[in-house]
């Protein structure tokens, strides 16, 4: 280990800022690095640059439906999943049954969004490590998903598509064909991604054995999603605590195995996402088969929703991990309190624990591998 030594022979530490305007911090994240030469002694993430008072806004809204566009803006990369969690929470509060068709469309949308989100996560991860090409190729595929979403909902990024008790509008008539088409064309692309990036020697050298997260530490920090699964722990809320209609589908939970280095390193977290996309394709195929062609996309509900007094916590599996909504109702038309448990926030808090002793260049890899979205961290 090289140590910076001053004239007087004392070891010198240097504190530098990484971000908030750094290209590889995935938004506006400021990392305070205490360095000894190039070795990172300590990392302190500073957040709050993108704080938009989501929770306070939710209390100010005079309707439960008005919160949905704000949930979109929390994690803008996986807006469908954010909406899904929120509407499920409100529906459970109202003890509402939604039509079968709605459930299927929601699942298809959520899984497509999961693929889109992982594509961006993987692509940006590669980009951080200097692999520019996969990023662009993956965006071609992501664009196809966004086109499907645009046709269905009218928007490309912030959909506001799921409504309490249903969907804002019905899907377009060609929806099924388009999704089936996408599934067919996307499968070979995963193979291409593996060739281009996953097993690329340079990429493996940059990610294997870097930022190792032991499963115990992951559990202590309440990690979830691909980060926890990358450490080899089989935990997926779609299987372990099924919501919506996920119990009807047959899919596997990919976990990290330490194939390239040690268990729970950056590469494991990365490959879990790649494998998860394949599982999402499987779910989409099954959902397409089961989806009824005709039917309402909205259950009958009163114009003003007033859930009865009480509180509840609903958790769903977003592409980044366990996304929970804790809602308190005081029987009025506006929520008394909405608290979002954001996986990115939890995962960012782990950063100091797993990046001790890493090099500066590895910090970039670690931040990329936990795939945070700062909109969700700060809310």
């Amino acid at each position: 280990m090289i140590e910076a030594i001053t004239d007087s022979g004392e070891r010198r530490e240097m504190t530098i800022n990484m971000g908030p305007q750094h290209p590889s911090t995935h938004g506006v994240l400021r990392l305070e690095l205490v360095l000894d030469g190039e070795v990172v002694k300590h990392v302190k993430p500073h957040i709050g640059y993108l704080h938009r008072c989501f929770e306070k806004y939710a209390e100010q809204m005079d309707d439960y439906a008005k919160v949905i566009p704000y949930t979109d803006r929390m994690d803008y990369v996986s807006a469908m999943n954010q909406e899904h969690g929120y509407v499920l929470a409100v529906e459970r509060m109202l003890e509402l049954e939604v039509p079968e068709r709605v459930e299927y469309i929601r699942v298809i949308m959520a899984e497509l969004q999961r693929i889109a989100s992982h594509l961006l996560g993987i692509g940006a991860f590669g980009l951080d490590l200097g692999a520019f090409t996969p990023f662009l190729y993956l965006f071609i595929e992501r664009e196809k998903i966004l086109d499907i979403f645009e046709k269905a909902s009218g928007a490309r990024l912030l959909y506001n598509y799921m409504a309490v008790a249903g969907l804002m509008r019905d899907v377009h008539p060609e929806f099924k064909d388009e999704v089936a088409d996408f599934v067919k064309t996307f499968r070979p692309k995963i193979k291409e991604l593996d060739d281009l990036l996953s097993y690329n020697k340079i990429f493996v050298r940059r990610t294997a054995n870097i930022g190792v997260l032991p499963v115990k530490v992951a559990l202590n920090y309440a990690a979830s999603g691909p980060v926890l699964r990358g450490s080899g722990f089989k935990w997926d809320l779609r299987k372990n605590d099924p919501y919506s209609i996920y119990d009807r589908f047959d899919f596997d939970i990919p976990v990290g195995s330490g194939e390239m280095g040690s268990l729970g390193d950056c590469w494991d977290r990365y490959i879990v996402r790649v494998k998860e996309m394949e599982q999402s394709l499987r779910i989409i195929e099954q959902a397409l088969d089961g989806m009824p062609d005709e039917g309402d996309v909205m259950a009958a509900i009163p114009k003003r929703i007033r859930p009865k007094e009480g509180e509840l916590y609903v958790r769903t599996e977003s592409p980044r991990g366990e996304l929970g909504y804790y809602i308190v109702s005081d029987k009025s038309a506006s929520p008394f309190r909405v608290k979002a448990r954001a996986p990115s926030f939890v995962h960012l808090s782990m950063l100091p624990a797993i990046s001790k002793g890493a090099l500066i260049a590895d910090i970039v890899a670690i931040v990329g591998s936990i795939d945070i979205v700062l909109g969700e961290v700060d809310r």
Binding site: D63, L158, Y199, N200, K201
Partner: protein, 211 residues
């Protein structure tokens, strides 16, 4: 040594595999749109800009209330009895002059929540997306088609009619109050007479009072 050679061979191989994919893409079809020359075709239901068909608006204010960011401003003046504003294309009678229907597109977050409550489907999203401005105030769209003079006239008329109505109401109230008073007095009188009748057994007092 062997390990080093093996590593270099694998690196070499993975570079070649990557290059092969890149070359395949290079000769494949391009997906990039050269934007100002080619424009993407948005689907019909794309949410890019709000539009209001003001002829169909009945001034019910439902869209403004549904808006989470309060970017719709509506002022209405009730129409006077001498004008008939007609009906919308959906058959709803119009009862208000829309003196102001402004949408601040700089504030709008394109959430589509205002579109659904509209009873006449007169507010909707259109797929026009090239409307950037140098000045933010230019993004406030005025949909009301009333001239300022017309607005003043309508307001005055409405105010006059409201005043007239108020006057009538006051008149009526006064009349009612008077009637009530009269009734009260009458009732009092009657009661007194009745009392008198009952008190007839005590003539001395009454006579005293009369004298």
């Amino acid at each position: 040594m062997v390990e080093a050679f093996k590593n270099s061979w694998i690196t070499f191989k993975s570079i070649f595999i990557g290059m092969g994919i890149t070359i395949r893409h290079f000769f494949g079809k391009s997906v990039t749109l050269q934007y100002p020359d080619e424009r993407p075709v948005l689907p019909n239901n794309a949410r890019a800009k709000l539009y209001v068909n003001i002829d169909d608006c009945i001034g019910c204010n439902l869209c403004a209330r549904a808006c989470p960011v309060n970017c719709i401003y509506i002022d209405t003046v009730p129409s006077t009895s001498d004008v008939d504003l007609g009906k919308t294309s959906t058959g709803n009678p119009k009862r208000f002059w829309l003196t102001r229907f402004d949408i601040d597109m700089a504030k709008c977050m394109y959430c589509d929540l205002c579109v659904h409550p509209c009873p006449t489907n007169c507010i909707y999203m259109v797929s026009e997306y090239e409307y950037s401005e140098f000045n933010r105030t230019n993004l406030i769209y005025h949909f009301s088609n009333l001239e300022p003079a017309m607005v003043a006239e309508v307001k005055e008329k409405a105010a006059n009619e409201a005043a007239e109505k108020q006057r009538q109401r006051e008149e009526m109230m006064r009349k009612k109050a008077e009637e009530a008073k009269m009734k009260q007095i009458e009732a009092k009188k009657q009661a007194e007479e009745k009392n008198d009748g009952e008190k007839g057994s005590e003539p001395s007092k009454k006579e005293n009072g009369d004298s």
